[in-house]
C-alpha cells in the first residue's frame, strides 16, 4: 500500500499521459492473463459439456474412469501422509539442531522440484524395473513395483516431496526454538512439545503445504506416466485416463479433465482463503 501511495504522490495528481499509460498497462496485463490462462480453463469446461450434460455424466461414470478416480485417491492417500510426516520431520531436524551437511540436506529436499518428472520416473525404472538394480530380486519375491501401485506412489512421493517441508522450514526457522526449549525446562517430553507447542504454531502452514502437495499428487502426469504401464482400469490414474481417452473420445477426455480442473479451482480457492486469513505465517514465494 505504501508503494502505491508513494507512486501516486509523485508529482501530485498524475498527468493524463501517465494515467493513460497506467490504464494501458493494466489492460495489457489483464489481456495476457485472459488469453494465456482463462481461455484454456474455459475451453476445458466447454469441451466437457459440448455433447450435453447426459454425455458428461455418462463419461465420468464409465467403470474405467471410476477405477481411475479410486486409484488417484489411493495414491494420494498414501503419498500425501508420507510427505506430511516427511515435511514435519525434515523441518524439526533442520530448524532445531545444528549438524554437519545441513545445507546439503536442504538442497536435497528441494531437488525434486528441479528434476524433470519424466527423468524421475525413468530413475525409478532403473532401480525397480525388470532390468533395474532390484528387478530380479523383486521378481523372485513376487513383488511388482513398476507398472503397479508401489511405483505410482514412489513417483508421486518423489515429485511432491518438497511441498510441505518448504512451507514449514522457513516458518519454524523464523519462530526459533525458544518456546520448545521453555516447554522442555517445564518438564514436557518430546511428543508433548511437538503436539502442544510446535504443531499448533505451524498448523496453517502445514495445511497449506498439504493442499498444494495433494493437488500435485492427484494431477501428476509425467513421472506417473513412465512407471504406470497404462493398464486400463488397473494402473491408470485420472490424468493418465485423460491421456488415453484423448486418443479415442475427445469429449469424454475433457469430461474427465474437467474433474481435475474443478479440483484445481477448489485448491486455488482454499489456497487464497488460507493466504488471506493466515498470510503472516505462510511463505508466499511460489
Amino acid at each position: 500500500m505504501a508503494a502505491v501511495a508513494a507512486v501516486v504522490s509523485i508529482g501530485g495528481r498524475p498527468s493524463w499521459s501517465v494515467r493513460g499509460a497506467r490504464i494501458a498497462l493494466v489492460v495489457a496485463a489483464v489481456t495476457v492473463l485472459a488469453w494465456l490462462l482463462v481461455l484454456p480453463l474455459l475451453a476445458i469446461f466447454a469441451e466437457a459439456f459440448r455433447q450435453g450434460v447426459a454425455f458428461f455424466l455418462d463419461a465420468i461414470r464409465q467403470p474405467d474412469t471410476l477405477a481411475a478416480v479410486r486409484l488417484t485417491l489411493t495414491v494420494a492417500a498414501i503419498a500425501v501422509p508420507v510427505n506430511l510426516v516427511f515435511g514435519l520431520a525434515a523441518a524439526w531436524a533442520m530448524t532445531h539442531f545444528h549438524f554437519r551437511g545441513k545445507a546439503l540436506l536442504g538442497a536435497l529436499i528441494d531437488l525434486p522440484f528441479s528434476v524433470s518428472p519424466v527423468v524421475a520416473g525413468m530413475m525409478l525404472i532403473l532401480v525397480f524395473g525388470k532390468y533395474g538394480w532390484f528387478g530380479s530380486w523383486l521378481e523372485a519375491h513376487g513383488w511388482q513395483v513398476i507398472f503397479a501401485l508401489p511405483g505410482l506412489v514412489l513417483a508421486t512421493v518423489f515429485v511432491t516431496l518438497p511441498f510441505v517441508a518448504r512451507e514449514l522450514i522457513p516458518l519454524m526457522q523464523a519462530q526459533g526454538s525458544e518456546q520448545e526449549e521453555a516447554a522442555l525446562t517445564l518438564g514436557a517430553n518430546g511428543w508433548q512439545i511437538f503436539f502442544r507447542v510446535t504443531l499448533p504454531r505451524v498448523r496453517w502452514a502445514l495445511l497449506y503445504g498439504v493442499l498444494l502437495c495433494n493437488a500435485r499428487a492427484m494431477g501428476e502426469f509425467g513421472a506417473v506416466y513412465v512407471v504406470s504401464g497404462h493398464l486400463r482400469g488397473l494402473t491408470n490414474t485420472l490424468p493418465l485416463q485423460v491421456d488415453q481417452l484423448y486418443e479415442e473420445n475427445f469429449s469424454a477426455a475433457f469430461a474427465v479433465a474437467s474433474l481435475l480442473a474443478l479440483l484445481t479451482l477448489v485448491t486455488l480457492g482454499v489456497k487464497r482463503v488460507l493466504e488471506w486469513r493466515h498470510g503472516e505465517v505462510l511463505h508466499a514465494d511460489h
Binding site: 495489457a28 528434476v115 524433470s116 527423468v119 518423489f158 526449549e181 522442555l184 484423448y246
Partner: protein, 274 residues
C-alpha cells in the same frame, strides 16, 4: 545454544534421510551409475543421433525463448498487480497460480483444443497462415504457459518491498517515467528477474504433460527431449539411451538449481546493502 537441546533429532533426521535415501538418492544414483557405465564414448553414441540432437535443440531452444517471454509478461503482470488497484485484481492475482495447480495433461489438451485448426483460436489464426498446434510455436506456447507463475511469484514480494525513495529521487532529478523504469527499477530488479528466468527455464526444459499434446511429436521437428525419454522406455525398451538423455537433462537441472542459489544469495546481499 548447545548442539542438541531438544529431543527427537535421531527420529526426525532418521525418517528424513530414509525417505530422501529411498525416494531420491537411490534413483539418482541408479541414473548416474547407468550413465557412467556407458562411458563418455558410449554416452556420446547414444546422444549424438539426429533424432536426439534435434529434440535437445528444440527443448533447450524453445525453453530459453519461452523463459525470456515469461520474464517480459511476468514483469508486466507483477508490476500491475503490485502497483495498481483495479477491479478483479484479486481474481487476477489468484489466477496466476493456475499453471502451478492445473494438472499438466489437462493444460496440454486444453491448449491443443484451443489452437487446433478447428479450435477457438486456431480457426481464427489459420486464415492468417499461422499454425500453432503441432508446430514448434505450440511447444513455445505451452512452455510460456507453465513458466509464467515462476516469474510473477518471484517478482511480487521484491516489488512490494522496493522502497520508492529512489524513484522519487530520480523524479526530482528530472527523470522521465521511462528513465525511472530503465535506469532505476530495472537494475534493482535484475537479480530477481534472472532468478525467475532460471526457474521458468528449468520448468520448461523438463516439462512433459503440457507440451506433448500440442507439439504433435513430429519426427525431427516437434519432439521434445522428455518425449524421447518416454519413447525410449515405453516402446523401445532402450534404458541406456533413456539414461544417457536423462543424464543431460539432470545436469541441466542441477546447473540451473545452482544458478538459482547463487542468484538468491546475490538478491539477498543486494537487499542488505540497500
Amino acid at each position: 545454544m548447545s548442539r542438541h537441546v531438544l529431543p527427537g533429532f535421531r527420529l526426525s533426521a532418521g525418517y528424513t534421510l530414509a525417505v530422501l535415501g529411498g525416494c531420491v538418492l537411490l534413483p539418482l544414483s541408479a541414473l548416474l551409475w547407468t550413465a557412467c557405465e556407458l562411458g563418455p564414448a558410449g554416452w556420446w553414441a547414444q546422444v549424438a543421433t539426429r533424432r536426439v540432437l534435434a529434440s535437445l535443440r528444440l527443448s533447450f531452444g524453445a525453453a530459453l525463448l519461452a523463459a525470456s517471454i515469461d520474464v517480459i509478461l511476468g514483469l508486466l503482470i507483477a508490476w500491475v498487480l503490485v502497483r495498481y488497484r483495479f477491479a478483479f485484481r484479486r481474481v487476477c492475482d489468484a489466477l496466476v497460480d493456475l499453471p502451478f495447480a492445473l494438472p499438466t495433461a489437462v493444460a496440454g489438451i486444453a491448449l491443443t483444443a484451443l489452437y487446433a485448426p478447428n479450435g477457438w483460436i486456431g480457426s481464427r489464426l489459420q486464415p492468417l497462415g499461422i499454425e500453432v498446434a503441432y508446430t514448434r510455436l505450440g511447444v513455445l506456447l505451452a512452455m510460456v504457459f507453465v513458466g509464467l507463475p515462476f516469474v510473477v511469484r518471484t517478482l511480487q514480494p521484491v516489488l512490494e518491498s522496493l522502497e520508492s525513495d529512489l524513484e522519487e529521487a530520480a523524479y526530482t532529478l528530472g527523470a522521465s517515467p521511462l528513465q525511472r523504469f530503465s535506469r532505476v527499477l530495472l537494475p534493482l530488479l535484475l537479480p530477481t528477474l534472472l532468478t525467475g528466468y532460471a526457474l521458468a527455464l528449468a520448468r520448461a526444459i523438463g516439462e512433459y504433460g503440457s507440451v506433448v499434446f500440442i507439439s504433435g511429436n513430429r519426427l525431427f521437428r516437434t519432439e521434445i527431449a522428455p518425449y524421447l525419454i518416454v519413447q525410449k522406455i515405453d516402446s523401445q525398451y532402450d534404458y541406456r539411451g533413456a539414461a544417457a538423455l536423462g543424464a543431460v537433462m539432470l545436469a541441466a537441472s542441477l546447473l540451473l538449481l545452482m544458478a538459482v542459489a547463487v542468484l538468491q544469495r546475490w538478491t539477498h546481499r543486494w537487499a542488505v546493502l540497500r
